[in-house]
Amino acid sequence: MQQIPDVIREIPLNYYVWFSAALFCIGIIGVLTRRNAIIIFMSVELMLNSVNLLLVAFSSYKADPAGQIFVFFIMAVAAAEVAVGLAIIVMIYRNIQTIDVGLLNKLKW
């Protein structure tokens, strides 16, 4: 990174941090209020993305590429998580014919 992006001079880091916090909170609302398992999955992806953005912003403002490597690995783990999670959701759907998480209460007491 021999050139510093113009953004760093013109936009304070706090904007990125606040935006990531907002996106993370949108993801939290999604996880807490939606009942469709796949939409909960999408909200988890939103939260992962906000964390990624924060890591990239910090790494870029510090001119240290290690943060971008973290994002790299997070993306690999997110792909693995989605693959296995959706396979589990599809299996749940095959067994009980619904993916409404409100109905998955066998472990509740």
Binding site: M1, I8, A63, A66
Partner: protein, 173 residues
Amino acid sequence: MIPFVFIAFIVLTVISACVVLWSNNVLYAAFSLLLTFFGIAALYVLVGADFIAITQLLVYVGGILVLLLFGVMLTNQNGNKENGKNDIIGTNTNRLIGFAVAFGLFALLFFTFAKANFVNIQSNLFESIETFSTTQNIGVLLMTDFVLPFEVSGVLLMATLIGAAYLSSKTKV
């Protein structure tokens, strides 16, 4: 110019994320998630991480979103001929508590970050560390400092391949 683009992409991302949150139609939620991922990729570009932006497009938009759409289409129960509607509906619950928790957390984060001082982090801003581009930087780091996580993620991908293929190939309907 750049602040306007920045604000425009932030607005795009937040609005499409809110559509994911509010939309009752799961397909609309999935497609607005596409816009969210795209907006975040644009923000990566703005902050100078070009390779991460392309990775975002390839992995999230090209891979994860497609997989999520497959998930939607594999699990819809309304795809029958009787109700002529084309919608796949998801419902909400516990709206009040969810919003209260999330807004409380957001307020906490907001005021903490407003008080935090990020000047230390930006201190070595104007000394360039390497003469590589970001892609080569990532490649060198991947092969030197992060070579163990790299191989471990290979093992993780292998385990995912085996596990998910096993889960989804059980032909017991």
